[in-house]
């Protein structure tokens, strides 16, 4: 593998992508191992715990068999691994539905609100952060500087589910404009995405604002001013690409955590996604479903991280060669 990677050094993008792929594979292997261990790590006799305190011996043995717990560990792992690649993760204990089926139905709902929130948060944060940075440059508008610092610090401290509860109380209950829960129509997407992105808008906007302030002091921005181009063009064309990389690096974790946030926010809106699915499965001790959904959420989280890295490289080609000798 290493030799192969070195052979690709001529093209930085190919090298970069193959490196990312390698990281992706490692993370996936770790994820598979952890989800496999969920059942084995249950304290005591897993089958007995899963079957419940009042279960008959017969039911306990049945549970043991369904989870392969009667097989040697390596056999269990092999069955689990091959199951993942052949699309067979077993059936739900409760409904006997195929786990992949459950995942396939629920996944799009979670992906939509998580990605929607990332996009909304990113665009909102860039507009807000750059506007504030522009208005407060060189100590202009000190009041705005102070107001923004305190307001954004406060507003980013609100958990997503608190935003969710407040949004429901205002827009669904008091005003009746939007549905309080479910995913019946397009309007029902608005509140979950808003709740999920609100706090992130402010925490990312703080980063954008700080980075913009740094970029505005750069010599190349003075060069752009010397070309007498409009302020909007200076900011969008000349400043934005340069603060993108650091902003993405600093806010990558915020976006990765949006997936975790989506799990909780689904509970506010009775959203038929993976989050509600996994919570229900944990309460029901429905381990095949737990494994399947956590595996899916994990893959999704890993993919988000990789995507952020790739976007990062596209904005700042220098990161492609990072780690290699710099000419």
């Amino acid at each position: 593998m290493v030799e192969k990677l070195q052979g690709l050094k001529g093209s930085p993008w190919l090298y970069f992508l193959s490196q990312k792929l390698l990281e992706l594979i490692v993370a996936f292997v770790v994820l598979v191992a952890i989800t496999f261990l969920i059942v084995l790590l249950i304290p005591g006799d897993p089958a007995r715990v899963i079957a419940g305190p009042d279960a008959s011996q017969e039911h306990i043995e049945f549970t043991r068999q369904r989870l392969d717990l009667d097989l040697p560990v390596w056999q269990q792992f092999w069955n689990y691994l091959s199951g993942i690649f052949t699309g067979d993760l077993g059936q739900s204990f409760r409904t006997n539905e195929e786990v992949w089926n459950i995942v396939a139905i629920r996944l799009p709902f979670t992906v939509t609100i998580a990605l929607g929130a990332i996009v909304v948060a990113f665009i909102g944060a860039i507009i807000l952060g750059m506007t504030v940075a522009g208005l407060t440059r060189g100590n202009r508008n000190r009041w705005l500087d102070v107001t923004f610092s305190w307001a954004s610090a406060t507003l980013q401290a609100f958990p997503t589910y608190v935003y969710g509860a407040i949004l429901v109380a205002i827009f669904a209950v008091a005003l009746g404009w939007l549905p309080a829960g479910g995913a019946s129509n397009v309007q029902s997407y608005i509140l979950p995405i808003a709740a999920l992105s609100f706090g992130a808008v402010f925490s990312v906007a703080r980063i954008v604002r700080r980075e913009t302030a740094n970029v505005l002091e750069m010599d190349y921005m003075r060069t752009a001013r010397g070309w007498r181009i409009s302020r909007l063009k200076q900011y969008v064309k000349y400043a934005l690409p340069n603060l993108m990389a650091s902003t993405l690096t600093l806010s990558g974790l915020i976006f990765a955590n949006m997936i975790g946030g989506a799990v909780v926010i689904e509970s506010v809106f009775a959203w038929p996604g993976l989050g509600n699915g996994v919570v229900g499965a944990i309460l029901d001790r429905d381990y095949p479903v737990i494994r399947g959904i956590i595996l899916t959420i994990g893959v999704f989280a890993i993919m988000t991280n990789t995507m952020i890295d790739i976007v990062l490289a596209a904005f700042d080609p220098r990161t492609l060669t990072a780690g290699k000798a710099f000419s």
């Binding site: 790590l41 060189g138 000190r142 608190v162 209950v173 010599d219 003075r222 060069t223 010397g226 994990g298």
Partner: protein, 579 residues
């Protein structure tokens, strides 16, 4: 994400040790209130919070500040009483993260390098993984419950503390005195106890405080979705979840737990930010308060000012007048009141190359930038008359004319180019935006100019990013672009200082021949009298914000200078030449 880093502050010499940072103070006040509530609320309010009554679903009233729930329990009391359990769980979870994280982060130094690398690598994967997903995995293993939730959330934050410990200790473990200590057979335990841990106390405290806020929010989140605290116990998260099920009947039930979660989380976060801010010297101390970066007419007596303006207008309007630059009484003042340029006067005639010479800090660049209408942030400028390329700069001039008529070449080519954009994109900006050239035509013109300045394989170069070119190439490219718009005035601020001596002469020669071809006047700024002598028709010597001497090339050539400072500059130039 700290508040402190937001602030663009001027560095201050004095440390302000004794005063608490306002952010830290606010955090400490909020947190103290929350902790006091956690201690005393269960003693005073547990009856109204827990005992059912017949006052069900009461609205907000004096007796019940937040109303009552469906069992007649006071919601205000419940929100306060929930504080204790919430805080206890959060403290437990934080303790788990800190203790396990720091232990692992320290223990890696006792392991073989390969194992250490493996652990650090695995940890970096774990850090990027959403905390809540890790918590869900642990909750799935151990089953729902208050203390398993605390354990789960605590474990989920371990990677962040491992990373901090490893990052903080690796430079220390590699430092010389540690190596020395190692050679002296001081044990690694002593090393870590004596050198590593004390060094990381501050960042650890900051992370712990910020992480406390995150932990509180995540724990409440687990209770909220039903995997944390179980009824009849209750914390903030469970109260909020109860409120949501009753949202149509009593939307105000949300207020209590929502306010408390935000308050407690905000308090911890502000403490973390405040600590970070006070440990960061850049943000300590006060900020500048003046609005800067402005250019105004000099506040002269009204009739005198009118006269000056008249002169400027004449210079600007009369095409026969050969004046390209006219500066009268230009003053530049720093925000702290120091006068950096002290009322200077000079002219530049058409096709004339005028040198502006002086040491760093003498005010040459400030003069040049202000002349071009680009007064930098941090200073303010006034002038009686300011004409550049025939435009009165004290009045609004269209950006199209300015961009077309005034070209700037800066000192350090490595930093004056935008690193994210290709050369073609940035260097044809003026031609496309202000001269209305089509991209293909601008591109062709740029290639021609590149050829003129002897830039090798220009077609290839214009598609490259700045970091792919050498400094000399970049400076030629910058000069090429200034020729593209056929400017009337070229202001060059030490264009060759950042270049190799061997490249300097070559670039200068090309620069001069190119400007002569354009019939442009040049204001050439340099600290090197030797360069200026070879290049300029006339030289202005600047010293401490004043023009102390004006010389023709002839005077300079025959060394007929008067001011002692000019003499010194000349000696320095000759000394360098002699080498």
């Amino acid at each position: 994400m700290t508040m402190a880093n937001e602030a663009q502050a001027a560095p201050t010499q004095k440390k302000q040790k004794r005063r608490l940072h306002p952010i830290l103070l606010a955090g400490l006040i909020i947190m103290t209130v929350v902790v006091l509530i956690g201690i005393f609320a269960p003693m005073w309010f547990s009856e109204s919070a827990n005992v059912q009554s017949n006052d069900r679903r009461m609205p907000i009233s004096a007796d019940h500040p937040l109303g009552t729930d469906e069992f007649g329990r006071d919601l205000f009391s419940r929100a306060l009483v929930a504080t204790r359990l919430t805080l206890l769980l959060t403290v437990a979870a934080s303790a788990i993260s800190v203790v396990i994280g720091v232990t692992i982060g320290t223990l890696v130094w006792f392991m073989p390098p390969r194992v250490r690398q493996l652990i650090v690598g695995a940890n970096s994967v774990a850090v990027a993984f959403p905390n809540l997903v890790i918590a869900l995995i642990i909750a799935a293993i151990l089953g729902p419950g208050a203390w398993t939730a605390a354990f789960a959330v605590g474990i989920a934050s371990v990677p962040a503390f491992v990373r901090l410990t490893v990052n903080m200790s690796s430079p220390i473990m590699a430092r010389d005195y540690v190596t020395t200590a190692h050679l002296l057979r001081v044990s690694k335990y002593k090393l870590i106890g004596r050198h590593v841990l004390p060094n990381m106390a501050e960042p650890l405290l900051i992370l712990t405080a910020s992480n406390f806020a995150v932990t509180l929010v995540e724990l409440s989140g687990l209770s909220f979705i039903g995997l944390g605290v179980q009824s009849p116990d209750y914390d903030y998260g469970l109260l909020l979840s109860d409120a949501l099920t009753m949202i149509y009947a009593q939307p105000t039930q949300v207020i209590g737990p929502a306010v408390m979660i935000v308050l407690a989380g905000l308090g911890a976060m502000l403490i973390g930010d405040g600590l970070a801010a006070s440990s960061n010297p850049r943000t300590r101390g006060q900020r500048r308060a003046m609005r800067t970066g402005t250019l105004r007419p000099a506040p002269a007596a009204a009739n005198e000012q009118a006269k000056e303006q008249e002169a400027a207008r004449e210079a600007a309007e009369d095409p026969e007048d050969e004046i390209d630059v006219r500066v009268r009484d230009l003053r530049v003042t720093a925000a702290n009141g120091t006068e950096l340029v002290k009322g200077i006067d000079f002219d530049v005639r058409r096709r004339e190359i005028v040198g502006l010479v002086g040491e760093s800090g003498s005010g040459k660049s400030l003069t040049a930038m202000t002349l071009c209408g680009l007064t930098p942030e941090g200073v303010t400028a006034t002038a009686g008359t300011l004409v550049a390329a025939g435009h009165n700069m004290l009045e609004p001039v269209s950006s199209r004319e300015l961009a077309q008529d005034i070209a700037l070449v800066y000192q350090d080519p490595m930093s004056t180019f935008n690193p994210a954009l290709k050369l073609n994109t940035q260097l044809t900006e003026v031609a496309r935006t202000h001269l209305g050239m089509r991209p293909s035509r601008a591109r062709r013109k740029l290639i021609e100019r590149f050829e003129q300045l002897k830039i090798t394989s220009p077609e290839h170069r214009i598609g490259q990013h700045p970091h792919e070119l050498s400094g000399g190439m970049l400076q030629r490219a910058m000069i090429a672009s200034s020729l593209l718009a056929e400017a009337k005035l070229i202001v060059a601020d030490e264009p060759t200082t950042a270049l190799d001596v061997t490249v300097q002469a070559e670039v200068l020669r090309q620069f001069v021949s190119a400007t002569q071809e354009l019939d442009a006047s040049v204001l050439f700024i340099s600290h090197d009298l030797g360069v200026v002598e070879a290049l300029c028709d006339r030289v202005l010597v600047m010293y401490r914000g004043e023009i102390v001497e004006e010389l023709t090339a002839e005077q300079l050539g025959s060394r007929r200078v008067e001011h002692p400072y000019t003499r010194k500059l000349l000696d320095a130039a000759e000394y360098v030449e002699a080498l």
